[in-house]
Amino acid sequence: MSNETHASGGLLESGLEGLQHNFLTGSLEYLVKWARRHSVMPATFGLACCAIEMMAAGGPHYDLARYGMEVFRASPRQADLMIVAGRVSQKMAPVLRQIYDQMMEPKWVISMGVCASSGGMFNNYAIVQGVDQIVPVDVYAPGCPPSPETLMHAILTLHHKIEHGELMRRPGQGAGIVIEQLGIDGPVPVSLGRS
């Protein structure tokens, strides 16, 4: 494992070009992010149809075990990823928040399926129109239900986000993305965030 070279972006490239770092002297931040990305433990939060596809993703055909994620931790204290799979009803919303609060930092949320992402086809009194009204979401996986491949793409996106995102990011500070919208008088910067 020594003498492993990695072209990690940002920190190293700007200052010390061409320096080959080996594993022992790699930056701590990189190590921590690498470890977190490879040991994500999902918590069971299967609610409806998407739960069946989530279980199928853990099954032998689509095999989440290749990421070490096939064991869904029952206790939220032991998990760091909550995959909200299914529609969240009014009665379930406080429970969702309670389970999310019980998880330890760092924690991530994948909103699986359109019902969790936006209320889906149920735009009515009974369903919360998007779990991002209750918990901050990192990755949205669309589909009704998303096939296990879509879920795995979402998980890989999350892995990428963990490995290349900011270490000390706390949910609630916003994604920090600024885009430009063409207004009447010229471009207007619009900052997207998460509350």
């Binding site: 069971t44 939060f45 299967g46 609610l47 409806a48 149809c49 739960a51 069946i52 596809e53 279980m55 199928a56 853990g58 099954g59 032998p60 055909h61 869904f72 029952a74 299914g86 529609r87 009803s89 009014q90 009665k91 379930m92 429970v95 389970i99 086809m121 149920f122 009515n124 009194y125 009974a126 369903i127 009704c144 239900p145 096939s147």
Partner: protein, 442 residues
């Protein structure tokens, strides 16, 4: 005269011969006085716990709604004395989606997309119940090929639903490898369903008037591939589970219910059949073409969780028999009724005929109007009697759409199954009832 518990008689083609009101009445009395159902609201339970003195021997604990052993978001309030469950109250509503209200806003053609998400383990059945109710209101009859396609697809769905039961039942009892085997087989079945309907789940394939599309070329190979593969795998489950002492001890004698209690509670499906009572809507009140195919109705004898598991395993075999007969006898013809007012015209005709274009437009935007009336049609889903009650006011949307979900009624048996058992058996019992919370809460 008593309800026959004679296993031999129960397995005859005539089914249970005699029925008496006397035993039913005593069962009703027994259900009421047994007091297995905990009649406390959530606030009341909190109060009871707060006021509990240390001398009290019973305590009320809460299991769920987020728990790895429940089949979805089911919450159980259990009154325990030590490890023994005295009374229990299932609290549901955590997945209430307002589907019946949503159904009133959608047209009849969009109805199957809504109801298919109720029982998400066997979605084609709810679509079938809805479509058959609408067809009864319309007074139309679907062509023969459509009937046989529906039968083929629903029996395939029954196989995949029972495989899901095998997998989750195994996992709930700790046999995690059963989970992997069940999903392995289920994926093959879903592959066939995807070939035909385009989706792995929530297919929206069975619509009023027939089915959405014809079977693709080469569907026979898909079916044969499954029929060749499954028996060997099911024999593996048999070897793995049926003879295993741990499996037997965990399931035999656990969660026993009697026939009279089932009938009084309105419970249908494998739970009713496990008590020795032979009632299956496919044979006793046939719909589609079930009176033309040969299959057996599997009946248990002891009414316990092992019987329910064994019944579902055997029902997979019976479904394979029906699928084989559908394969051999699939008639040629239309896959949906050619009534312009109900089903859209074939896509190719839209380019040729203005009338076809207008009909297609009107059916998909406005929807077709259904004459005034009300109808209730029930079918046999993997969980029991699944019925759909629609009241129509003559417009293009159902005025009232209600689905009689088998799991909703079957959940009422939980207190009676758990009474006097251990907490550890609670998981096995819930798993053997096989509820799908999507249709419980709708």
């Amino acid at each position: 005269m008593t309800v026959t518990h004679d296993p031999a008689a129960a397995r005859t083609s005539e089914g249970a011969q005699e029925l008496t009101s006397r035993d039913i009445v005593s069962a009703i009395e027994r259900l009421h006085e047994l007091g297995a159902v905990l009649r406390l609201s959530e606030a009341g339970a909190l109060e009871a716990e707060r006021d509990r003195t240390p001398d009290d021997e019973t305590m009320i604990i809460n299991m769920g709604p987020q728990h790895p052993s429940t089949h979805g978001v089911l919450r159980l309030m259990l009154e325990l004395q030590g490890e023994t469950v005295l009374r229990c109250k299932p609290v549901i509503g955590y997945l209430h989606t307002g589907m019946e209200k949503t159904g009133e806003q959608l047209s009849y053609l969009q109805g199957p997309t809504n109801v298919t998400r109720m029982d998400y383990a066997s979605p084609l059945f709810t679509e079938l119940a809805f479509s058959m109710t609408v067809e009864q209101l319309l007074g139309i009859e679907v062509p023969e090929r459509a009937v046989w396609i529906r039968m083929l697809m629903t029996e395939m769905n029954r196989i995949s639903s029972h495989l899901l039961f095998m997998a989750t039942n195994g996992m709930d009892l700790g046999a995690v490898s059963m989970m992997l085997y069940g999903w392995r087989e289920r994926e093959e079945t879903l592959r066939f369903l995807q070939e035909v309907t385009g989706l792995r789940m929530n297919h929206n394939y069975i619509r009023p008037g027939g089915v959405a599309a014809d079977l693709p070329d080469g569907w026979r190979d898909g079916v044969l591939r499954l029929l060749d593969m499954l028996p060997g795998r099911l024999a593996e489950y048999d070897t793995l589970l049926n003879g295993q002492p741990i499996w037997r001890e965990r399931l035999q004698g656990v969660g026993v219910i009697t026939t009279e209690e089932c009938l009084a509670l309105g419970i249908t499906g494998p739970i009713l059949r496990s008590t020795g009572y032979s009632w299956d809507l496919r044979r006793d009140m046939p719909y589609l073409a079930y009176d033309e195919v040969e299959f057996d109705v599997v009946v248990g004898s002891y009414g316990d969780a092992f019987d329910r598991y064994a019944i579902r395993l055997a029902e997979i075999h019976e479904s394979m028999r029906i699928v084989r007969q559908c394969l051999e006898r699939m008639p040629a013809g239309d896959y949906r009724i050619q009534d312009k007012k109900v089903t859209p015209p074939p896509r190719a005709r839209i380019d040729e005929s203005m009338e076809a274009l207008i009909h297609h437009f009107k059916i998909f935007t406005e929807g077709f109007k259904v004459p005034e009336g009300e109808a209730y049609v029930a079918i046999e889903s993997p969980r029991g009697e699944l019925g759909c009650y629609i009241v129509s006011d003559g417009s293009a949307n159902p005025y009232r759409m209600h689905v009689r979900a088998p799991s909703f009624i079957n959940l009422q048996s939980l207190p009676h199954l758990m009474h006097g058992g251990l907490v550890a058996d609670a998981v096995a019992i819930i798993s053997s009832v096989d509820p799908i919370l999507g249709e419980v809460d709708r």
